[in-house]
Symmetry: C2
Amino acid sequence: MAPLCRNAGTIMDRTNRNRTTITKGTHLFRPGQDCPGYVVVHEGAIRVSLTAESGREIVLYRVRPGDVCLQTFSALVHGTPYTAEGLAETDLVIEIVPPQAFQELVASNHAFRMRLFGAVADRFSDLERLVEDVALTGIPARLARALLRLADADDAVNVRHEALAIEIGSAREVISRQLAAFSRSGLISGTRGVIHLVSRPGLHSVAGEF
Amino acid sequence: MAPLCRNAGTIMDRTNRNRTTITKGTHLFRPGQDCPGYVVVHEGAIRVSLTAESGREIVLYRVRPGDVCLQTFSALVHGTPYTAEGLAETDLVIEIVPPQAFQELVASNHAFRMRLFGAVADRFSDLERLVEDVALTGIPARLARALLRLADADDAVNVRHEALAIEIGSAREVISRQLAAFSRSGLISGTRGVIHLVSRPGLHSVAGEF
DNA sequence: CGATGTCTGTGACATGATCACATCCGGCAA
DNA sequence: TTGCCGGATGTGATCATGTCACAGACATCG
């Protein structure tokens, strides 16, 4: 079956109004706030997450150049406030397209629409995988997947345990113990600071991916 | 903020080709299968769920008249196979719009596109709530929410424990125990066969909704 | 070097998932 | 009716994970 939309690449490269720079660590939005417009990320990454009253948190997805911030899309389409939290994970260059301009773009620009459809479908696939992970998959597999996802070209992962816990919707202590277990098994080396992936195949196996 | 799309109601009432009747209990699709076209539900409900290798299962969402089957949308947009399972929860009247016809509709019909955007955004909100439920919410609240969602106008819920477990991504035994607890607390009466909601306010309170 | 604050390790316990098996209940046949 | 059968439900034991409390390790700064 041929894909309906092949190019879900960078959206709106041509527009160049209202660019804003945001400092790493800033909250772009929080639950309950109104959405000022469609958010386009030109540089950097936004981390979108949910937080429970207990303080437990889970990352829904990241918005990088070319991605759709589904929160923004959904808030605009429905005219409802944000339901999740958006954090600048790095320094950002973003652009905020006011609702009316967004609506006009959707109405007038077919290429934009198709990219939007493609990007929304991507995001949906991510969320579906997330549900599968959280509801049906155990901690070892989820952590192994997160390590493989977050590792750089040198097989190094440099994140605090707390951040790893938020990544997979678990708790810091659980991560600490599971990293120790992976280390004992020889899958990784080092459980704190920079973690090195010793055996990617081993981790893939634990992750249940072949 | 004004909603961009007010009417996410029934999509494609006007098309009336290729209507098909499906018997309750039939699988419309399974993971790995190719998507033959965009699925429109005219009558009945499709239950879309994920199943783990262990046999554990969780309901992602239901497709009723006017809803978008995101699985179908995503499969068509990406040209990829289904990733979840679709079951006829009731007898169905559906219509399958071939990929090319779907693409032409998206390209030519603005009202259709806007409804599609609206319905996709709805579905996304559902999935986000699901992630929140599964990742951050305890069994009592999830079960209470499911009971409130599934109860009919007479406050009666007639589902097997196994089905309730799939509804919230838990296990039959856990449902059995939690229903017994609700019954002891006087929130419901009867834990098997038809369950009656005695105190909706009480259940809402357990559900964490006010 | 020591004080301080943040991150990490670990034991104890609570909650939920899994397994094994007992019990209940509704048909159905003799 | 009685007894059997199979699916659905109840329950204890055990394992995996989440939560809480606190101790130990490390970095930073004076």
